[in-house]
């Protein structure tokens, strides 16, 4: 499956967003996710099926003003 993760093209095998987070080595990490511009809470990641061309954003705490 070809998708965009944080604007980077990736070929992934994960079937769900939860599996994708695992595949990227971010299991248990302090992150939040959005798919095609919409927030997907952690509790819904395992119900979200990855589809071709999806745009996924994964964010984490960062310095801010």
């Amino acid at each position: 499956m070809n998708i965009l993760v944080n604007d980077e093209a990736r070929e992934v095998t994960a079937a769900t967003l939860a599996a994708l987070v695992d595949e990227l080595g971010l299991k248990g990490a302090r992150i939040a996710t959005a798919v095609d511009g919409d927030f997907v809470p952690a509790s819904r990641r395992s119900h979200l099926t990855i589809a071709e061309g999806m745009k996924i954003e994964i964010v984490a705490p960062m310095q801010g003003g």
Binding site: N6, D7, L24, G25, L26, A29, R30, I31, A32, T33, A34, G37, D38, F39, P41, A42, E57, I58, V59, A60, P61, M62, Q63, G64, G65
Partner: protein
């Protein structure tokens, strides 16, 4: 003054961006005795995991965090970012920024009011980054905000309080609303001035982070905020146009 029911240990809110190193950031937060630190969300790289290291650092500081929606230019972006921040930082506090103009980074106050209405209805405690406009302030309060954060000057400009009259008017119109000068403060005297106007807090980032010695500057801001707050409570003298001698004239010898 309480912010959504919470009394802060200090009226100095400190941003966490642009420090020379994580160690200097941590030392600056301690030197400032910051009551709140602001944080943000950015893309996490699977390889570097920079966000996870930053998360550990801020947890160790044990200072309440205020996540921002910095860089958001639309209501949708800001609202989605707030949702993500609530999950990541486990707080319903959000410093709401909806930026309207790239050069001045001034808020899009129309989008701000709309985003604030959505977020407050969803249980967020919104700290809106706004201008000193009274009408916008009214609308933000009507939208459910219980704190206002007018700018002093454009973000990162260090120009201080560009419209003292406007900030004073805001204070006078909303005596019971917690007010924070957010953005534009460059040196401790600007922060002291905001506190002397009766503001409840100031939010500073670049002025500390970009100082030659951020830790010393953090301490300087801490002292300035304390001095300004004390001065406001002490009820400053009224300004006048003409001189008035402070030394009594009575009893002055005639020597001419």
């Amino acid at each position: 003054m309480k912010f959504y029911g919470t009394a802060l240990s200090s009226p100095l809110m400190l941003g966490t961006a642009q420090y020379p190193s994580p160690d200097i950031l941590a030392s600056a937060v301690k030197a400032a005795q910051a009551g709140v630190i602001t944080v943000s969300l950015r893309r996490e790289s699977a390889g570097q995991k920079a966000g996870q290291a930053f998360w550990s650092l801020i947890r160790e500081l044990e200072v309440p965090v205020l996540p921002n929606t910095a860089g958001c230019h639309t209501v949708k972006e800001a609202v989605t970012t707030a949702h993500m921040a609530r999950e990541v930082f486990e707080t319903d506090w959000v410093k709401l920024e909806v930026i309207g103009e790239a050069d001045t980074l001034q808020p899009d106050v129309f989008g701000l009011v709309e985003a604030a209405r959505i977020l407050t209805s969803e249980g967020f405690r919104v700290f809106p980054y706004t201008t000193e406009d009274l009408v916008v302030a009214e609308k933000l309060l009507a939208a459910g905000c219980e704190v206002l954060m007018p700018w002093g000057a454009p973000i990162g400009s260090g120009k201080g309080l560009n419209n003292v009259f406007g900030l004073r008017a805001l204070r006078a119109h909303f005596p019971d609303v917690p007010l924070v000068v957010d953005a534009g403060i460059g040196v401790p005297s600007h922060a002291a001035q905001a506190m002397e106007l009766g503001y409840d807090a100031v939010l500073i980032n670049t002025a500390v982070a970009k100082a030659g010695d951020p830790v010393a500057m953090a301490r300087a801001f801490s002292l300035a905020v304390e001095a300004g707050a004390l001065a406001y409570k002490a009820d400053p003298m009224a300004e006048r146009d003409m001189a008035a001698p402070s030394t009594p004239l009575l009893g002055k010898p005639v020597l001419a």
